[in-house]
Symmetry: C2
Subunit: 185 residues, 2 copies
């Protein structure tokens, strides 16, 4: 049961293959057999190392948004900073894959949805400070950012895909800035 150095290589290969498959197909359609094939290994090894398909999934979606400390940023640039950070995460090879896995699965799998809610509470909401309507503001921000990610990376809505990152950031930043700063009704 102990981990030897030799096995870590295979474990890693399984994990990367799993992330790619989960990201491409979602939880249900990604099969253990396909993941194992991608990793160049027998399906039974996947179970041996991660217990079950769900265990593998849990290991595959260990995400850290690495949100910046917003107190070190000029108030009127918080929106832009936040949007850019988020979009660049999605554009990145590794993090983007994990985020895709998470969003794709959260929509049909309640365990994954719970994980998203947790990430929201522990990472997004806390990063945006804790005023009285802090959680509401954070959720509004999340609605815009998740919506943008959904349209660009999942649904691939042409007009959103066509925009380059800088333009998209410039378009979304005022919205986020308002959710964070402006008075709510």
């Amino acid at each position: 049961m102990a981990f030897t150095a030799r096995s870590q290589e295979t474990r890693g290969a399984i994990l990367t293959a799993a992330r790619r498959r989960f990201a491409a197909d979602g939880y249900e359609r990604a099969t253990v057999r396909a993941i194992a094939a991608d990793a160049g290994i027998d399906p039974s090894m996947v179970i041996r190392y991660y217990g079950s398909k769900e265990g593998l999934f849990a290991a595959a979606v260990d995400v850290d948004l690495r949100l910046p400390d917003l107190r070190t940023i000029p108030h009127d640039q918080v929106g832009e900073t936040f949007v850019r950070h988020f979009l660049e995460l999605w554009e990145g090879e590794g993090p983007g894959e994990v985020l895709t896995v998470l969003l794709r699965s959260a929509v049909t799998n309640d365990g994954a949805a719970e994980r998203v809610r947790t990430i929201f509470t522990t990472q997004v909401a806390t990063a945006l400070g804790s005023g009285e309507d802090g959680p509401t503001r954070a959720a509004l921000v999340a609605s815009q950012l998740l919506g943008a990610a959904l349209c660009r990376y999942i649904l691939r809505l042409p007009p959103i895909v066509a925009l380059d990152i800088d333009t998209l950031v410039a378009d979304l930043a005022p919205t986020v800035q308002r959710y964070i700063g402006a008075p709510l009704v």
Copy 2:
């Protein structure tokens, strides 16, 4: 192959059951057998009437957003009108279920995603007029509205769920208003 009046009842029962199952579980996890059981008939009937699971799905997600004609509305209220109309669709029993089906499935099933893109082009984009960056504006609107629906009805993010419709409309309306009207970068 002809439709008799007698069969319409069963066809309807299948369709309602299908919408409920697809909405609750998404395309992959909703099984023909479960849908048939809900409708109180044999699984083979589903195939007889709709050809295949995918044919049934196509029949289940026939959606008309019934977007209002924005030219009949004061310019400064377009955002609010649009947001309210959209959210009330989601809150409604029938349309909300279809929209849930569509979004849930579009995230993992590319056929459904294609359908969302079509609906976007034929209904949302055209409703928002056809200026030079009309599609871009429409897509930005879609990103916010879909994001809000995602957070409220699918992921059930507590702070968003807690808001009543009027408050949520008031919070989102300025964003949509800006995407429609304000100059883009």
